[in-house]
């Protein structure tokens, strides 16, 4: 089998992976660094982020306030040392991006402009119109072109981590174009593979967000952290799941039920004011808004649409000028995908799965418990998001922790010796054989990828959705076990080596099943309600038993183990999450 070798290998070419690549190149230009990605890097899903990236820059703001918003927003499940480091570095990272050419929106005097965002007490979200992620990703990608030392494997799919003697020393990957299966060894591997929204049926996430990295780490024996915390975004378009950014509410949009009533006032989220108020009503945190939606369904106050229940997002009072200036992409999406114009019409929305708070457990430098393995971005869980991520915290997260993981991996690789034993190559050879036998050359299966995928998605939605119970989760667990069994029996139509996307969806399905099982088992164990994890059978938060991170892992025999690790509390003792107190008016214009 062919092998190639690098010092640091970044798996994933999204915001986190590219930022890490630059960090490696800058830390030690002599290192052979490579980025491997299943899509061309600029197609990664960071491209879809709309609203913005939070970073303290304005004089009226402070690090402590951003920390507090983040920690309380995360229902005190954040590691506070990590949060503090993150919030201190976020503005520097955003500024670095500015120096790399990111077209941030500006104040008339030329300074960076900031906007309000859900759950934030101050206006601190940097934005590039409503295509922030797009601009961040393209800026990063174009900047990496400057570094000749960054090698790219575009459209390669990683199927396995190579582990030797407890240390991660590379990956096995398929080159899509040729179908070649190859070992790529490295002294340090950084997982930056993004989230896993596709395990659910309605999601803002792209087709590529299938939790591959989480599954790779899990199979290699690394624990996943806080997998039960899944963020629903309250305003997705029905059917497509396309996101209508929170910025639409930050600019002053209303949420209305079928009576045209701003129903959020009934859920402890403050009083309705004509202008948006920070941390209140429409600018409450996402978990609470999504939960309010379910309650509205129960009260029969939602609108029946062709794709289930919806409520309305009302932007009409903002006027055409403001919508064009601040929310052009929202208007474009509505016109293109719903055939309606938000200037004159109501937008039908529903909560859709948006973000995975959990992920591969790492320390503050992105290191996992497995030596040589690092993780950053949405696929990692450093624990700054806790039980509920605040909007606009994850773009700075991929930058801060992408950079940190890159530096840590570079330092590790600079000191480590190359470790490519015979055993490693044998492992790679085994993996190649598995892929051939289980997928490419298999002829006797009778299951279709799409069928199992749909069943899995339905199972998760009903079993581990916005509200969960012991029963719903146990049913889901049983069902997933069956689906996993059936997935072993998949038959592909496509046996070609060239660009075999069906093989890819089969491999992704296996990853998603791993992730789904972790979600359900983590949720089963946490018998409390906190942030995005709401158990109707345990409706209260229980700090005595669960002020702790869930760690789920697999032993050598494939048995699932769930452990807990206490949350790091430094300066902000757990309190109650209070929203809706009028503190400050968000929008001046």
């Amino acid at each position: 089998m062919e092998t190639s070798s690098h010092d640091v290998l970044l798996v994933g070419g999204g915001g986190a992976g590219l930022r890490a690549a630059i960090a490696v190149a800058e830390t030690n230009p002599k290192l052979r660094v490579a980025v491997i990605s299943k899509v061309y890097p600029m197609r990664s899903h960071t491209v879809a982020a709309e609203g913005g990236a939070a970073g303290v820059v304005k004089p009226d703001d402070s690090i402590d306030e951003h920390c507090y918003d983040t920690i309380s927003g995360g229902d005190w499940l954040c590691d506070q040392d990590a949060v503090e480091a993150f919030i201190k570095e976020a503005p520097q990272e955003l500024l670095r991006l500015e120096h790399w050419g990111c077209p941030w929106s500006r104040e008339p005097d030329g300074h960076i402009a900031v906007r309000a965002f859900g759950g934030m007490k101050k206006r601190r979200t940097w934005f590039a119109a409503d295509k922030t992620g797009f601009h961040i990703l393209h800026t990063l990608f174009q900047t990496t072109l400057k570094y000749n030392e960054i090698f790219r494997y575009d459209e390669w799919f990683v199927t396995k981590l190579l582990v030797d003697d407890g240390r991660v020393c590379g990956v096995v990957a398929i080159e899509l174009m040729s179908g070649r299966i190859q070992a790529i060894t490295a002294k340090a591997v950084v997982l930056c593979t993004g989230g896993c929204g596709r395990v659910f049926p309605y999601t803002t996430n792209a087709a590529i967000k299938t939790g591959d990295g989480m599954s790779l780490a899990y199979r290699a024996g690394a624990p996943l952290k806080d997998m039960e915390f899944i963020q629903y975004h309250p305003t997705g378009l029905p059917f497509t799941g396309i996101l209508i950014t929170e910025a639409a509410r930050a600019e002053g949009g209303y949420m209305l039920n079928k009576d045209g009533y701003r129903y959020l006032q009934d859920y402890d989220l403050g009083r309705p004011e004509p202008k948006p108020v920070l941390r209140s009503m429409e600018l409450g945190p996402r978990d609470r808004l999504s939960q309010a939606f379910v309650k509205e369904i129960e009260k029969g106050r939602t609108i029946h649409g062709p794709y289930g229940e919806v409520v309305h997002l009302d932007l009409r009072h903002l006027g055409e000028k403001l919508i064009n200036q601040k929310l052009p992409f929202v208007r474009e999406l509505c016109l293109k995908y719903e055939g309606l114009d938000p200037v004159t019409q109501l937008i039908p929305v529903r909560p859709v799965v948006h973000y995975m708070m959990g992920g591969v457990s790492t320390d503050i430098n992105g290191a996992t418990p497995l030596p040589g393995l690092y993780a950053a971005g949405e696929c990692a869980c450093v624990s700054i998001n806790g039980a509920n991520r605040l909007g606009s915290n994850s773009l700075p997260e991929i930058l801060v922790f992408g950079a940190r993981a890159g530096v840590a991996a570079a330092e590790f690789a600079s000191g480590a010796a190359e470790q490519v034993s015979q055993a490693v190559l044998a492992q790679a050879e085994d993996e190649r054989r598995r892929l051939e036998q289980q997928f490419l050359r298999k002829t006797d299966g009778n299951e279709r990828v799409a069928v199992i995928r749909e069943a899995m998605q339905k199972t998760l939605e009903s079993g581990a959705g916005i509200y969960r119970t012991q029963k719903s989760l146990e049913d889901a667990a049983t069902h997933l076990a069956i689906l996993r069994e059936r997935a072993g029996n998949i038959a592909l139509d496509d046996h070609s080596r060239t660009f075999n996307t069906e093989l890819l969806s089969a491999l992704e399905l296996h990853c998603m099943l791993d992730v789904a099982i972790c979600i359900v088992h983590s949720a089963l164990s946490r018998t409390e309600s906190r942030g995005a994890h709401q158990r109707t059978d345990y409706p209260d938060r229980n700090d005595r038993d669960f002020l702790a991170h869930t760690l789920i892992s697999q032993d050598e025999h494939g048995a699932i183990r769930v452990n807990y690790k206490p949350v790091t509390i430094t300066r902000w003792p757990p309190g109650e999450r209070v929203y809706g107190q009028p503190t400050q008016t968000a929008a001046k214009a």
Partner: protein, 154 residues
């Protein structure tokens, strides 16, 4: 719209295929050949080619004018030969066609100019009409003046 192009491409591909057979792990790309008549298949391309060919009318008009100037310099007899030749049906037909192309040239030229010039007034890009409009006006004015001079002075 694309059928002509597709057919041309398919047939071109048909006989130009000398690619080696597929070998495992070596992708074998298909490279469609562009037909010589690519510009015939689609209306925007036809428009483009017509626009480009207007340059022939431009050259023709200059040649015609040079011939006229030459005749003028050669005395009255020569010039009357010129007028006679210019009145032949073939010449008239050619000139009518050339005139059509000249109009096409003028119109497309003025309409494209705003693209090349991003004129900004207090931060806002000037709307296209404000750039092409004056050019059209200038064109009409110059034409009118020339016609007027000709009518009055000769």
């Amino acid at each position: 719209m694309d059928s002509a192009a597709a057919r041309a491409r398919a047939s071109a591909g048909g006989h130009s295929q000398t690619a080696p057979a597929y070998t495992e792990f070596h992708p074998r790309w298909y490279r469609p050949r562009i037909s010589t008549y690519w510009w015939l298949g689609r209306w925007p391309y036809v428009k483009f080619i017509l626009r480009e060919l207007s340059s022939v009318a431009v050259a023709w008009t200059v040649a015609f004018t040079l011939f006229q100037l030459w005749s003028l310099s050669q005395g009255e007899v020569a010039y009357s030969t010129f007028t006679r030749r210019a009145s032949s049906p073939i010449m008239i037909a050619l000139n009518v066609i050339a005139f059509g192309f000249l109009l096409l040239h003028s119109i497309t030229w003025f309409n494209l100019a705003p693209k090349a010039m991003a004129v900004r007034v207090s931060g806002k890009r000037l709307p296209a009409i404000l750039i092409s409009g004056p050019q059209f006006l200038g064109w009409f004015a110059i034409s009118a003046i020339v016609l007027w001079i000709y009518m009055v002075r000769t």
